[in-house]
């Protein structure tokens, strides 16, 4: 809800005061930050999905445009790998909450390796798929959507790398594991987005 909630001094009749601070807000900063993040991501992916629906539904472009084929099975295996990585991520966080440091380290390492496998497989898929972004609207949208998601995976992998290094250096404990919590949220978000991308681009 757009609203301002600060009080501004208008007139000091008898005494001057220092500037007033910005007071309460109806939306807590942490919630507002997450809403802005989700909002920006929705707009980012939404723009690409709009292009996808325009090309496929409004323009009626065949999907995939013959003679091209989408590697549905490879992408399905890749999806399974990425979904599994979310489970290992969850296991890592549950482990650190219970004080199981090796569970945390193993969970993060497995998550990182599976994320890396996903990205490498996607790169290999690009080299073997048989079309390039310049080969029509279908190919452009395919590369844009999967590439945008791949960029998110890359960012997630970077976060995971630092989380794993920190875990092996003993930076996290049952009381202090905020870094794992936030990284986990991001990784699950990336996973959710891939399921949406895979379902719309490869299945429907």
């Amino acid at each position: 809800m757009a609203s301002y909630s600060h009080a501004e001094p208008v007139e000091h009749v008898h005494e001057e005061h220092p500037p007033e601070p910005h007071y309460s807000s109806r939306v807590p900063p942490s919630v507002l930050g997450m809403f802005l993040f989700i909002g920006s991501e929705i707009m980012l992916f939404g723009a690409f999905f709009t292009a996808y629906f325009f090309v496929r539904v409004v323009a009626g472009t065949a999907w995939p445009t013959p003679p091209f084929h989408l590697p549905i099975f490879v992408a399905f295996v890749n999806t399974c790998i990425l979904v599994t990585s979310s489970f290992t991520m969850h296991w890592a966080l549950q482990s650190v909450k219970r004080g199981n440091v090796w569970g945390l380290r193993a969970g993060l390492l497995l998550t990182f390796l599976m994320g890396l496998t996903f990205l490498v497989t996607q790169g290999r898929e690009y080299s073997r798929v048989g079309f390039a972004p310049k080969d029509g609207a279908f190919a452009t949208i395919f590369y844009c959507l999967t590439g945008l998601h791949g960029a998110h995976v890359f960012v997630g992998l970077s976060i995971l790398l630092f989380m794993t290094i920190r875990a092996f250096r003993g930076h996290f404990s049952p009381e202090h594991h905020h870094g794992v919590e936030i990284g986990g949220i991001y990784w699950h978000f990336v996973d959710v987005m891939w399921i949406v991308v895979y379902t719309t681009v490869y299945i429907l």
């Binding site: 809800m1 757009a2 609203s3 301002y4 909630s5 600060h6 009080a7 501004e8 001094p9 208008v10 007139e11 000091h12 009749v13 008898h14 005494e15 005061h17 007033e20 601070p21 007071y23 309460s24 109806r26 919630v31 997450m34 809403f35 989700i38 979904v83 979310s86 991520m89 969850h90 966080l93 794992v180 919590e181 986990g184 949220i185 699950h188 978000f189 996973d191 959710v192 399921i195 949406v196 895979y198 379902t199 719309t200 299945i203 429907l204």
Partner: protein, 188 residues
């Protein structure tokens, strides 16, 4: 609606819901593409409905009532008045007064940020009331508050410890402010 990414555990739960939805879509799309599209619409609607009805922790808890403390020998009065109020009377014991006039704006004005006129009205009222209440030995300050009178009181009490609150408004508003503050609230 509940934010599905509030914590790792909640985002993991959201992921599970999305996986289930995706499996339904894939199953339907295997039979027919348009059936898959219909399943996708239903799945998205189902997830939105689920998030909409999920209780947000603490959302229905009443906020703690605000207490305030004042230095000995002072009597501070917080005056809350709607824009357009021409005059108010406050306790003669008052040594410090803060006049807060909320910049009441419609929902559309709030959403579009077109609140300049409402703020100007509130500023005029606040300044006029401050002039009316000013007298020797009394410090008076005028402020424009939030667009909700209760929130304006909430803000003011965080920086101005009041001994009492004088409200130039209807009984319903007085009751709402009584629910937020521990100090005496009177209708003026």
């Amino acid at each position: 609606m509940r934010n599905p990414l509030r914590s790792e555990a909640e985002s993991f739960r959201f992921l599970i819901a999305v996986i289930v939805g995706a499996l339904v879509i894939v199953g339907a799309a295997y039979l027919n593409t348009w059936l898959g599209v219909a399943a996708a619409v239903l799945a998205v609607a189902g997830i939105v409905w689920w998030l909409k009805d999920e209780p947000v922790p603490g959302a229905h808890d009443a906020p703690p009532r605000l207490d305030s403390a004042t230095p000995p020998g002072t009597h501070r009065v917080l005056v809350v008045a709607a824009p357009g109020t021409s005059s108010v009377q406050v306790d003669a014991r008052a040594t410090e007064i803060v006049v807060v006039v909320p910049a009441l704006a419609s929902t559309v004005e709030s959403l579009t940020g077109a609140v300049d006129d409402r703020r100007a009205d509130a500023e005029q009222t606040a300044a006029a009331l401050a002039r009316q209440l000013a007298r020797d030995g009394v410090r008076v300050r005028a402020e424009v508050g939030a667009d909700d009178p209760v929130l304006a009181v909430d803000d003011a009490l965080r920086t101005f410890g009041a001994d009492e609150i004088a409200v130039a408004g209807d009984e319903r508003l007085v009751e709402r402010i009584r629910g937020r503050a521990t100090v005496p609230v009177s209708q003026v």
